[in-house]
């Protein structure tokens, strides 16, 4: 064990000569070994096992199932659009490989850009690498459409990390959620790549009214070579026409025309299990709920935010049901939880401790309003099919205000006590 530490330490670069390399080394060293720091003697002498690395990594663990399902679903949607292998469990190898080829560049670009900026700032400011981007970097690919051009992703990640985080002082100091900021950047700067009906199914090229599958690239051909050797189904050259009646629309895109328009294309169970087009990681509800339960069980994610967020969404959709002004409002309140990315937003986005309210009472209020606002934006604003990103960003900005009032209430209670005594 000590030998191993010494071997790794032999690589340590000089801090003065190359601060960037040293920061990089330090980042990886502390990743590999918990450092031999001891308590200072001026406070507690023992410390809890829990640290920020572990906190962050547990969130990433909770997301792994979303990654697996998302990857598979990219491939599945692609083939369904082409009218091939429409059964969910058919040609699993092709769907997985297709998804992998899509998701891997997104994942790598996100991390290279995000971590690169993080390392740069850490070296510049002379502190260790903080773990903040572990979670942001795991979340960003999951909330992107699968066909997003990588240069847009690069811009978005750079924008979010520099202006959203480093400008405010790094991990723990940001006002709004980094992952959602990256998505919002794309949403407003390059709206066609992230909204409408044509971006959610991967590998479909639109040419006026015509749509056809993409022509496969070298990576697909490489796997074809393996699969043909094994005698399994192969991708082929691609360029096929899409299946009849293919729209590429998400349930939310259809919901404008009422619930029946949605169920004509997708059954509720299909939406529940997640075999529908959408952002990469947000379609499968049971898998997200497993992740959410994991966060609650480990105490990492706040159950207060999750529960109040759910209550807020239920309350608002019930209110809209009663109002019943148009066909969208008429969609029964519980069906709102089959469509869209409510669960993902609730479990992984709203619970970010840095941008959420910090007080327990505040968390309840904060979550509730996210639920309410998200449904309002979803149903009442025709320009934005989904509301959670905007609702959470909005409430991120309001979280300090909520906390301010909760904390002021505490201060006032104390003042009252002083007056009673006096």
């Amino acid at each position: 064990m000590k030998d191993l530490v010494d071997k790794v330490k032999a690589f340590e670069p000089d801090k003065k000569k190359s601060p960037f390399l040293h920061t990089l080394y330090d980042g990886f060293f502390t990743f590999l070994f918990t450092p031999n720091l001891t308590t200072s003697g001026k406070g507690v002498h023992i410390r809890d096992r829990m640290d920020l690395k572990r906190t962050m990594v547990i969130v990433v663990f909770a997301l792994t199932l979303c990654y697996l399902f998302g990857m598979y679903n990219i491939g599945h949607q692609h083939f369904v659009a082409l009218g091939k292998h429409t059964n969910f469990l058919e040609a699993m190898h092709l769907k997985l490989v297709y998804g992998l080829i899509k998701i891997l560049p997104i994942f790598i670009v996100t991390h290279v850009v995000g971590l690169g900026i993080e390392f740069y700032y850490a070296a510049k400011k002379g502190h260790g690498i903080e773990e903040g981007f572990l979670v942001s970097g795991a979340l960003i690919p999951l909330i992107m459409p699968p066909d997003l051009p990588l240069w847009i992703l690069t811009l978005a990640v750079a924008f979010a990390v520099i202006l959203g985080k480093e400008a405010f002082g790094g991990t723990g100091m940001n006002i709004v959620n980094i992952a959602l900021l990256a998505r919002a950047f794309i949403f407003f700067a390059y709206p066609t790549t992230i909204s409408g009906d044509q971006c959610w199914v991967s590998g479909i090229e639109y040419n006026g009214a015509l749509a056809s599958g993409e022509v496969y690239g070298w990576a697909h051909h490489f796997f074809d070579w393996i699969f043909s050797g094994l005698g399994a189904d192969v991708f082929g050259t691609g360029g096929m026409a899409v299946a009849d009646g293919f729209t590429g629309a998400t349930p939310l895109g259809l919901a404008m025309q009422g619930w029946t328009a949605v169920t004509e294309v997708y059954s509720p169970m299909q939406m529940f299990w997640g075999a529908i087009p959408g952002s990469i990681g947000e379609t499968s509800k049971p898998i997200i709920i497993i992740g959410a339960l994991m966060l609650i069980a480990t105490g990492i994610g706040s159950w207060r935010i999750m529960v109040s967020c759910l209550l807020g969404a239920v309350a608002m959709s019930v209110v809209l049901n009663i109002w019943n002004f148009d066909v969208y409002m008429n969609i029964p309140w519980y069906y709102h939880f089959y469509m869209g990315s409510f669960w993902f937003a609730m479990a992984f986005m709203a619970t970010d401790p840095v941008t959420a309210s910090g007080t327990n009472t505040g968390k309840l209020i904060y979550g509730f309003f996210i639920g309410v606002l998200g449904i309002i934006i979803r149903v009442m604003n025709p320009a934005y099919p989904e509301g959670w990103m905007l609702a959470i960003l909005f409430m991120n900005v309001f979280a300090p205000l909520i906390d301010h009032y909760v904390v002021s209430a505490n201060i006032n209670r104390r003042l009252k006590r002083v007056k009673q005594v006096a």
Binding site: N36, T39, K42, G43, R49, M269, N410, R417
Partner: protein, 546 residues
């Protein structure tokens, strides 16, 4: 209020009902399970409403016939205390128990056995830094090389010359150790084999007023036994406490069992309480432990002339600061004194024995000891002497006090004046491969993310001083609140201190806290922030402001 609730319930109920009937009419697409669950919820709510209405009728009837609704329960539902009444231990009797939900017990190896080891301590020290609030360089009353009896004056603070600080043992003053900026840190006395006590002038407690008593206590050195809140300082000369609080149990890790400590000192303890009763305009409050398996010592439960308060809960329930918060919170301008049980005994002995006898039991604890046990010594004993022959490892940290808020000491240093515990821990300067992921060593944790800790909550751990991670900015929220049973927002308070925001510090209750109260928050802190240091910075700022 209740009718509002009932109306709200009914409205919600109707809403749910209408929704589900609509849904049933049109649901044929596999959402049966969801519908069943919803239906179940509706049925449950319906039952709840029926019960609530029935309950209200019952209560109305009870008031109508003039039954005593305060005393007897005329309700379908049991009262909260009836529901949990069985869990209230029988020794508490009719008194109410304050149950504190937040907190965490750190279970460590090396608790002291209930027997008293014989040790011979050759040197003792009185340490001016122990008495917070006095000038760093006090005026000495004895020259180096001079001899003193136990109870002879050693030094005084030049701002408060009437408050004397006296020698705990008799012997020769052999050295004077200095720290930063020549502040005197230790006045070392080489103790006589046979202890000689100065015979204190007698004092008629019954026929004297408070001023006379205070002046007497200041002159014999007893003023240093009191600690003034806010700030945890030695009280000023004319300070009159609103109340005096004593906690009779210590929930800190490996803390001494005060029931064992007080054994055989009932008379002195009661005398001490009587004296305290004369010093305060309010009451002397005694915090008793309702969370133990057996009743606290009869010396505590039968104490007279005091208000008794029962508490149960995990650490920091035994901290006097937490108990004050739940009995009568400290306000910025008020003055509350606190004492430890052994300090009360020392105070009582001035009147029962007529001498300054700081003899006390000290728990020598920790997993790095061969035989953790109690030792009988005087205040300020040399730590090396207390541990002689008992260490099984030399790579250790020695702490005067407990692992959470104690002070790091060397073997050549001395027990702090107010401490009744020495803890020895292993120094944790090791690397751990993937330490953030794998639990290579079983160490105590309050986090539920480490399943073994959550499931086997009775496990006793061997802790070390490793930080298990690096310092980070405040990220996780709600963590401090879960271990601090007070109506305080520690994270906001800390941020107020860091930004020098006096008004907020005062508003957020910095006066109610001292280091030991916030220590558990510092232990659980994911970001490894030095909360106790931050708090003390804030307290010092407030203290200087007056």
């Amino acid at each position: 209020m209740r009718t509002v609730f009932t109306k709200f319930f009914l409205l919600a109920f109707l809403l749910f009902l209408s929704q589900t009937t609509f849904a049933q009419a049109e649901s044929n697409s596999g959402s049966n399970l969801l519908m069943m669950v919803l239906l179940l919820i509706v049925v449950l709510i319906a039952f709840a409403v029926i019960f609530q209405v029935g309950n209200n009728l019952l209560q109305m009837e009870a008031t109508k016939v003039g039954a005593d609704t305060e005393k007897n329960n005329y309700s379908i539902f049991p009262r909260l205390n009836e529901l949990f009444g069985s869990s209230k231990p029988s020794f508490v009797g009719d008194s109410t128990v304050t149950k504190l939900q937040q907190g965490f017990d750190i279970k460590l190896e090396g608790a002291a056995d209930r027997h008293i080891n014989k040790v011979s301590v050759s040197t003792y020290a009185i340490q001016p830094p122990n008495y917070r609030g006095i000038a760093p360089i006090p005026k000495l009353a004895v020259e180096i090389g001079g001899t003193v009896k136990a109870g002879d004056e050693l030094f005084y603070d030049k701002n408060e010359p009437d408050i004397k600080y006296v020698a705990p043992v008799s012997g020769e003053l052999i050295s004077l150790n200095r720290g930063d900026r020549r502040a005197i840190t230790e006045l070392v006395i080489l103790a006589d084999k046979e202890q000689q006590f100065r015979q204190l002038p007698s004092f008629d407690l019954d026929n004297s007023n408070r001023e006379q008593l205070a002046a007497y206590l200041q002159s014999v050195g007893a003023w240093s036994l009191f600690r003034h809140r806010p700030y945890d300082v030695v009280p000023e000369k004319h300070d009159v406490p609103r109340d005096i609080f004593i906690s009779t149990f210590d929930t800190a890790p490996l803390a001494p069992d005060l029931n064992f400590v007080v054994e055989g000192h009932g008379e002195a303890f009661q005398k001490g309480l009587d004296v305290l009763g004369k010093l305060t305009t309010g009451h002397v409050h005694l915090g008793l432990n309702a969370g133990g398996n057996s009743a606290p010592s009869a010396i505590f439960t039968n104490a007279e002339g005091v208000e008794k308060h029962w508490f149960s809960g995990q650490h920091p329930t035994g901290n006097v600061g937490i108990q004050i918060h739940h009995v009568s919170p400290i306000t910025p301008k008020c003055s509350v004194w606190t004492l430890g049980v052994q300090e009360v005994i020392t105070l009582g002995r001035i009147f029962t024995e007529g001498r300054w006898n700081t003899q006390r039991l000290v728990a020598v604890t920790g997993a790095e000891l061969n035989a953790p046990a109690y030792v009988n010594t005087y205040a300020g004993a040399n730590i090396g002497d207390l541990l002689k022959g008992n260490l099984n490892n030399d790579h250790v940290r020695i702490i005067s006090g407990d692992v959470l808020s104690g002070q790091k000491k060397g073997a050549e240093n001395f027990l702090n004046f107010y401490d009744d515990q020495v803890t020895v821990l292993e120094e944790g300067d090791y690397y751990e491969i993937f330490g953030w992921l794998l639990a290579g060593r079983a160490v105590p944790t309050a986090s539920k993310s480490i399943p073994t800790a959550a499931i086997f909550s009775d496990t006793v751990y061997k802790a070390d001083t490793n930080t298990h991670g690096e310092k980070r900015a405040f990220v996780v929220t709600g963590q401090y609140e879960s271990v601090l049973p007070m109506d305080i927002y520690p994270q906001y308070l800390m941020k107020a201190v860091l930004t020098n925001d006096y008004e907020k510090m005062e508003g957020l209750g910095i006066h109610e806290l001292i280091e030991e109260d916030i220590a558990l928050c510092e232990f659980v802190c994911t970001s490894k922030q030095p909360l106790q240091q931050i708090l003390r910075t804030g307290l010092d700022m407030m203290y200087e402001q007056g």
